[in-house]
Symmetry: C2
């Protein structure tokens, strides 16, 4: 038997993968924030959608340069991801404070982060207003992964402990692989 | 050290939660398909984005009525979810063939499915073209969950085995809860 809950209870769609979004201002300043409201939306070309609150520094930076990287953390980054999501880049240089090192992108100017499972270079192609946030539709221009944990079937779930955000300080990772019957 | 891979390799953003989307034609026919390209995009109001291939029956039905339900399966539904994603509703009545039973919605006319972890009633507010797919932005009008597995911090991960899609026939579920340090 189902029970009805508050229709704004968005945690029903969690846990879901969480990422570190790196953005860059037109003057070259960098910021990082965590975000899990991200999804692929098209495969050819590979487009993703990223929802960003309009009051955030990340929103301002992405508007300025039309670029960002999606960096894929693993379970060892759980504290870092939580902190990147709970402090504003307007108050501190989050990349320095969190001890993050950047790595050059191959197509865009905005860098990725070192020591992640991988990262995606993204260029905005469209922006859609959604309430107090904006949905950036972006084309993925390049993808870089830790080769030893990525297979032709995607991440090796026994080695790549993808981080999923649940609620507040709560995170999780995928467990064993389940194979559907044909 | 990162290795560059094909920039259309969208599986880097998987595993991610997978859902059963129920849609309804203007004449009252129902269809179901699985979809994991879904994300919350705004919290007040709670809006979600759902990417649907324009050639699909689900696309046609959602265009006709502007409604759908997002049903949340668990690990026991893995075969069903795979089948719902690999057959077209143009060939068979998938709801009947998969042995699914519907349950009335409270706000919209399109029903949910019985025996899921929960379901969301959604009304389209905007449609955005993205390549060969369309992104439906929809407002969540009501949410129903299995009360005993949903807490004020979201799903009880030890009881609600949320299904995540990895690649092809590969699925997984979240493992233990990880708590970030403040």
């Amino acid at each position: 038997m189902y029970k009805s809950i508050d229709p704004s209870e968005y945690h029903v769609l969690h846990p879901r993968p969480v990422y570190l979004v790196v953005s860059r201002s037109s003057s070259g300043l960098l910021n990082v924030m965590s975000a899990s409201w991200v999804t692929p939306v098209s495969d050819e070309p590979f487009l993703i959608a990223l929802s960003i609150w309009k009051g955030s520094l990340t929103y301002q930076y992405i508007r300025e340069t039309g670029e960002f990287t999606i960096n894929i953390p693993s379970d060892k980054h759980v504290d870092l991801v939580y902190r990147a999501g709970s402090v504003s880049g307007r108050e501190v240089d989050k990349i320095a404070q969190l001890g993050l090192k950047t790595v050059k992108s191959s197509v865009i100017e905005t860098p990725g982060l070192e020591d992640m499972l991988g990262f995606l270079e993204c260029k905005v192609v469209k922006e859609v207003e959604v309430g107090e946030s904006s949905l950036f539709i972006a084309e993925v221009k390049a993808i870089h992964v830790m080769g030893e944990v990525y297979t032709k079937y995607g991440w090796d779930l026994y080695k790549a402990k993808i981080l999923l955000h649940h609620c507040g300080r709560g995170f999780t990772t995928p467990s064993r692989l389940l194979l559907a019957q044909r």
